[in-house]
Subunit: 357 residues, 2 copies
Amino acid sequence: MELTERQKQILGAIVDIYVSTAEPVGSKAIAALPDVKYSSATIRNEMAELTQMGLLEQPHTSAGRIPSPAGYRLYIDELMQDYRLSLDETRTLSQALELKSQEFDKMMSQVGKLVSKMTNLPAYTVATRQNEAVAKHFDLLMTAPGSIILVLMLSGDVVKNKLVKLPVHVTEQELKLLAAVLNASLTDLTAEQVTGELLEKITRSAGSAAPLVPLVLDFTLECLRQQHGDVHLTGQMRLLGQPEYRDAAEKAQEVFETLDEEMLTNLPAVLPKDGPVQFLVGPENVARELKDTSVVMMRFDIGDGMQGMIGVVGPTRMDYAKITAKLGYFAENLGRMFQKSTPNPPPVLPEGSENEE
Amino acid sequence: MELTERQKQILGAIVDIYVSTAEPVGSKAIAALPDVKYSSATIRNEMAELTQMGLLEQPHTSAGRIPSPAGYRLYIDELMQDYRLSLDETRTLSQALELKSQEFDKMMSQVGKLVSKMTNLPAYTVATRQNEAVAKHFDLLMTAPGSIILVLMLSGDVVKNKLVKLPVHVTEQELKLLAAVLNASLTDLTAEQVTGELLEKITRSAGSAAPLVPLVLDFTLECLRQQHGDVHLTGQMRLLGQPEYRDAAEKAQEVFETLDEEMLTNLPAVLPKDGPVQFLVGPENVARELKDTSVVMMRFDIGDGMQGMIGVVGPTRMDYAKITAKLGYFAENLGRMFQKSTPNPPPVLPEGSENEE
DNA sequence: ATTGGCACTCAGAGGGAAAGAGTGCTAAGC
DNA sequence: GCTTAGCACTCTTTCCCTCTGAGTGCCAAT
């Protein structure tokens, strides 16, 4: 069942209007649009049909129409216009991207804050590995007798560290030795390649630093197995700015709770691995609490087998085009930033940038 | 002006009731309490007086009374009963404290999540330095040609790292040399003690790794100057569970925004340095947006000149006694955990633990 | 095929009226 | 002289009713 051109136009218009007003759209409003040549009656007939097809919904008999989840899906897949960032928006974004490059994790959380601010929606960021992690370098530093800091460098320029306190005494010499052993035998191995045999061998070579070995190994394995870094979620409260949550503190709270728990741990796994942009519309979502809530996410390459993900969470009625554009701009520039390694802001403006909000 | 015993009892009762119902308290409700021997009329007279003294407030003429900020303050300072954790509560808390000791920063954020969950309020955690930070150890690791990771260990067992990308080529040898120079000349110095002179000396000794020096130094100084670690704020949404924010999404949003920005950066500075527990009641607060919002915070010692802070944010009408007790328990046990360094949960039950919610 | 017209529906706004909770004050009681 | 019962008064909250208006569906005319 194919839609006619007119039906597409009407569906598109309804989504566009509803997205910015959050109110059901009536036939008159459509008819009043400059490039609509038909009367409200015609529109009404078409709307009735679109409703029957399941693309529109009617909150109650005497209200206008709102897009159904299927309607959104169709809109996203076929009708959505590329939104061009306005000059103002690009400027703000470019400025925003001039982050002091800090520690990596902090930067991701910074990026999240920015995305949230720019979209006025809750945003999350994650860094995930694309391939198996391996250890690249071990370092053992003594801070006080019995107090040792283990610094572990992984592939992808990720550095982890952990404070280890040992009751037994270990000399600097022995630490150096152990570090050398670890660097010799444990680097460039994935979690699976670390066998019990290997562990024994290391323990034997470790001398009196042997009690340290299991602690180091546990930590190392834990780090290697971690498929993705911390998930940063910020700006949850911005969801309250959306009309659908205005006076529904309860609903908002539910969404937040789900976001906090389920989503953050599962989301990276749930999302399909391919394609840069993903949309999860309402009921397509994992958790039932999120049925009126949608997710837009975008991947970008960090290099070294790492991949960043930025996304926003919002009401199903959100301005997908605009948000995709903003996320895209972020992702593109972040990717570029990481690619050419020097932490300079990439001031690349998208062409055609004088349309406004 | 001293309060009579009866006035104290009435004020205390009003706070207690208001704290759990969030509704103005009438004279009848007080008179109905088991250990109140006076009629509602008498209570009314006393309430009128307390109102005149500025300890109570009346939302409107025909409503009951609620405590004024001054009333809360007096309650906290003089009337508050020690809340004893119930057996159930201690059990839950003890379980909760069995954290896998992870990287320090992550642990603080974990603690925040727990505190928030236990109190059902937004919670924040920070680690602050008590004295000047100094660098303890430098490490430079080459990951790829031109790509170097700087690992910096500070006093207080804090480890920071940063990825530095350099266009010039530096050999492993030169890196080792530079690290040695840094370790020799830059450790155990506070930020002020790092002079331009010293910088020059280091640059001279660095050989062809000299271009690295300013990058390393900037980062080091940045770390040294950082008085406190990341402020973790979690569970913001729980504020919505409080009746005063139920249908006031707007207000909640304002609070959140303020929390996010102002508070998180200023709070550690604003709070007085002494005493383990601090209360900031409503208008005593920094930001105007938080005038109906109060903060309870508690310090605990981490050792090595570091201090942890945990706190919650809630409506001014909150159960200070209960929250203080919970925070106290957390703080005490966290302190103990850090003290005796082995990451075991300390299962110390407070005496007398069979009262309930 | 499109459109103007019209009857119909239904959510939401507005406006009292009634209910209910609580007060302050007065006068009686211990 | 403190305490208390009683009562008139105040003011918010709730409920119900009506009215309005936006929007629909359908029919007949173009």
